[in-house]
Symmetry: D2
């Protein structure tokens, strides 16, 4: 076995280990001299035995974002079929949001796209009473954030190919597909960007993005759950520009052979009646995720 240790290391000359340790702290680089043992102050993801990151409660994941949202009113009973009974549906509304993320700090400048589908809920437990969007499903075109989202914060992320926005001003379009089978297309025709008080109102409206997810980890070799928790994930968008406009959503149902693991999700969403379009908007800015402040709702 030949090992080429550093043939292609573009960052070698420009960023020392000290620098990267702020993102990927020392746990990953320390030399154990015995077998692997977990460190008490460290956060791990599988595979844990190659090391984790020191838990830093102040850590913020930051990224540039272009977000296109389309919101509509649907039938309450139809939507409630997909809302766990531990929650309360505050309004029979669904928001579909495409986010094109770039310059992601925790991916060292990488990028990916996501499409989230959510509905406004209330969690009213013994301790907590929280109003926030509930993540029905989030498609992402990159696996790393799917794993962190599911395992750390209970966001129900699954994979799809999500085309970068095609931009032929004022027209925007994207398509979401699975192994060559399109199941959602979004289009948007932008109006003039907001300014003045309109922009301020939009910034205030778009800014808070706290989300409720349901982390569900199954038992091994048996039905039921080893973990079943509702989690509040604090996040926000620092909005720079907002374009109102006209958006469309077009769902195409897929057969089990076209999408064996997701066809029932697509069917459920495609079947929700659209009683009224509430609005569409394109926002540009920076999204901040405070995953270390996520907490289990009780």
């Amino acid at each position: 076995m030949r090992t080429a240790r550093t043939p292609t290391d573009p960052a070698a000359g420009c960023q020392g280990e000290e620098k990267w340790q702020t993102l990927y702290p020392s746990g990953r680089y320390s030399r154990a001299i015995t077998m692997f043992r977990l460190d008490r102050d460290t956060t791990y993801l599988m595979p844990a035995h190659f090391g984790g990151d020191p838990f830093d409660p102040s850590y913020q994941a930051r990224q540039k974002a272009r977000m296109l949202t389309v919101t509509f009113e649907t039938d309450r009973a139809e939507l409630e079929r997909y809302i766990p009974e531990e929650l309360e549906l505050r309004a029979p509304e669904v928001q579909v949001a495409l986010s094109q993320l770039t310059e992601i700090n925790w991916l060292a400048g990488g990028h990916y796209n996501l499409v989230s589908v959510s509905a406004p809920v209330r969690f009213a437990g013994d301790v907590d009473r929280v109003d926030a969007p509930y993540a029905l499903v989030v498609w992402e075109n990159r696996t790393a954030p799917i794993l962190t989202g599911r395992e750390q914060t209970g966001v129900p992320k699954i994979f799809a190919d999500i085309e970068d926005l095609h931009v032929h001003r004022p027209h925007y379009a994207t398509s979401v597909s699975y192994e060559g089978n399109t199941f959602l297309t979004m289009t948007f025709e932008a109006g003039d960007p907001l300014a003045g008080a309109d922009l301020d109102r939009a910034k205030a409206a778009f800014g808070p993005l706290d989300t409720i997810g349901w982390r569900y980890i199954p038992k091994v070799g048996a039905p039921g759950a080893d973990l079943s928790q509702f989690i509040l994930f604090p996040q926000a968008m620092e909005v720079d520009r907002v374009y109102p406009g006209t958006g469309t959503l077009t769902w195409t149902e897929l057969s089990p052979m076209q999408n064996p693991r997701q066809h029932h999700i697509i069917r459920a969403l495609a079947s929700l009646p659209v009683k009224r379009m509430i609005g569409s908007m394109l926002a540009e800015g920076e999204v901040v995720l405070r995953g270390a402040e996520a907490r289990i709702l009780r």
Copy 2:
């Protein structure tokens, strides 16, 4: 919102729901008339609220497989740094195995590739005493099996692009890369296929594929784990053909900017000294996974 319910449903004419229910049983199709409630006999993955599958202890995941393995001896102390102290390293050996999987029943005939890296260990607990390969890391080029593998059976799967084998007989080659950065290439030069008693011995040797994984699910908003379990995952290969031959592995370390979430894993594996090549082999047949029989080791 326009919804095209069945424009592209190639399977519609040829396979009824009855058929698919053997793979994706009735839970996914039943109509709830209230809010979502978990069913006691069902297995779910996130998002759970769109429904799960009835737990079937006899279910077998089956797929055609072409598997290329390269095994080498390394330094015990170097390897033990990545073996949890709850386990015992039975030999300082590492096996790297590429599997090209097709006609996968639980993906309705889909396909994907994986590269697993494992070492032979013993779990000797209060109850169980098991010898099996320990999965150090498994790269896969499809997200769906990454999610089931991690969440249901603790296999430490992460994403990479894995090229289908290039086959210019007797030469085989593949490359494993992350966002355009190659970190592992494998080549193989095949000899004549085994026959007779040699083939029988190889079938017996290759057949059992039971694996030990470490399912680790972190706490929310804190260091440490909510779940930390060693799991035995029963699997086997029904071998049809075996080609002995000469294999090579070439690792290329990546910078944090090239692979921010995996560079430490690649560095660890690339740094393991190769004291001796043990052997290389190409096997073709069918792999059977009995995930419903997976169990937590105690």
Copy 3:
């Protein structure tokens, strides 16, 4: 600039230059000591100045193939709109054929997929009188054969993503898409493989694959052509197995924004009426292309 000359050369140990020179002959490796000059006996493709291959009239491109064909009768006038008037449409029939190609010798063991759409024509010129399928369009998911096909033999190849066949026996399915937008799905339900005289007849029917293409190279900075030639490209399939069965085609038209360069082609094909399904078949074997014997029809 750092140059890593041979860090990842899996073939280095197993195949010498002598060997590769049979595929990529010496022109590519010879050292010129002056400026670049074309060699008289060499075939070049752009960029020519890095060298070409000695022209070898006996060279055969060989590859394993799994081919799924669906043939239907359409309206003659509708189809003739896309048949150049230099040709004669022999029957108002269209064949759509998916080919999944592996172990391709001229790609050193690589693989790709194509979907061809053709109609049976006659070229009756001053010199030649040839009956063969006319290639209306060929989508391929690999650029290298698109370039050779267009520039060397006038096959009108363009790019699409073409999913490897999903195989859930007896069901087969694939989808063809462009930047996330599905425009063609094909399914097939296989019957029992042919045997005996039926197989022999199918081998004879499937074997000849000679194709007529129209090489059209535009003028620079002006309308019209610098080259406009009908070319006969000799090819054949050595058939091993044939499965009759039932196939389906489903076209989905795309908007200019979804597929700006091909939407009119898809619309044309999707608009052809299906008067009668003629037949569907799945064949496995080896395809041989004799590109060096291609010739301009006169």
Copy 4:
């Protein structure tokens, strides 16, 4: 065959045919009532029989561009091996330029990346005397512009995967790979953006991008060329921002089995000695291609 004519047509509501006809003029939509016949004022690409575009000498292809250039001095004799003797090498310099293109008008808002390698030459013919960069090779990650570039203007474009820039300010990085095998990585560390007179000078220096290409179309079934022409392709960049900085290039040679059609090109470029780094720069703006004004040099 089922045909779904308009299930996923996001642009249907927002842009009429009139609008698209400015990009894809009427030829594509006109109804012929006989067999296909070429129109005298139309430009076609294969397949021609589905229609072309009216030739418009004023048409400009426009796109947003982020361009990263790294320029170095090399050995004259080594470089001249790849310069056709019809040209004169003005300086032994090579420029490698990554361009990330978005909002491309002729792709209806689509996007793609390219990496061009060029050297400064003079064409001094019977009629023309032109100084411009000569395109040694251009890798692109989208096939459509590869085809137009090769066939219309002789730019020697071939395919590679080119990762969007990872941006972790002030660090930029990308990798260029073929079927999972990295052969070029580029990094850049940006300084402060230019302003005032420095920016004006940079705009003037970066603006003109006219390029010389060599259109070479082989004979059919014989060595030699049917077309062999040097072409001047007028293009320019309207520069908005320029960042000077420090760039690196790292080439990795590939084996014939890793990249059967391009390994000799990569080897040639990787073998060019770097005598001196001349400079690196990141520019953002808009690129304008005037393909209809391209002309054959004589």
